[in-house]
Assembly symmetry: C2
Homo-oligomer: 155 residues x 2
């Protein structure tokens, strides 16, 4: 393929790695707010007002526990797991749609045994995520359902 061709058509391999797309591994995190997740930006262009990213969480891993003003529009592309959105803990599987409203704590966790991959559409112009303080984490854990989810033992 020429570079011009690739700009209109890019393929993925069997491991959900797209050609011409950089895979960004997350740095390790001391506070264990995320684990074993990578990111590929599939579509980002000055003429588009949204971006489409693909996140993949290894078995037993999880996305960052965070909140922000911008919304997330998520489609589960492969695998299964659980998600936290606000005070809701939900089992999720391939093709489920998850909407994360503004300023809502959220996290995606892969089940054991298979990776969890999801698409996430966001506004191109958006605020930075906020991480929970120790107090906010304690408040979340006061809910037994959320505490179990954060221990990777969703009920």
């Amino acid at each position: 393929m020429t570079s011009r061709d690739r700009s209109i058509h890019r393929r993925a391999n069997d491991h959900y790695r797209w050609e011409g797309v950089e895979e960004l591994p997350y740095k390790e995190d001391d506070r264990a707010l995320f684990k074993s997740i990578t990111r590929q930006v599939l579509f980002s262009d000055p003429q588009m007002h949204g971006e489409l990213r693909y996140f993949e969480v290894a078995p037993g891993g999880f996305s960052t526990l965070e909140r922000h003003e911008h919304m997330h529009a998520v489609l589960i592309l492969r695998g299964r797991g659980h998600c936290l959105v606000g005070s809701e803990v939900r089992p999720i599987e391939t093709r489920d749609l998850v909407t994360v409203p503004p300023m809502t704590w959220h996290q995606f966790r892969a089940t054991q045994g298979e990776p969890l991959g999801f698409l996430c559409m966001v506004n191109a112009a958006r605020d930075k995520p906020q991480l929970p303080s120790a107090e906010e984490l304690a408040k979340l854990r006061a809910d037994a359902k959320i505490a179990a989810f954060l221990r990777n033992q969703p009920k």
Copy 2:
């Protein structure tokens, strides 16, 4: 599920129909610029600057042949087929990414035997698609590769 729950989490059935999402069948088209395609708007919200739609083309069907100022960011979710983007005709399969630049004629065609389903991200604020005039169609068909694609016989 309560309506509040469904607003954050919606599931699909095995036929790629999402709960709480209306399926819009296309009207029939005299000029055969599209055939056997349905649309589901998966994410559309005043706070999001992009929309995510799912289109499904029945075996042998095709999306509208059109062009417009706004871009399309497409991810093939199921099946295979061919697409036309400008003067390029490409075989496409599940997980391929296709970028449609501004004012570029484009169409997606399903192969025989299985449906072609694809996600399409667009700007929420966008211009209306333009359909080709008879002259523009003739100009497209002057390219043997494009003519074969439009006859559903891609080379």
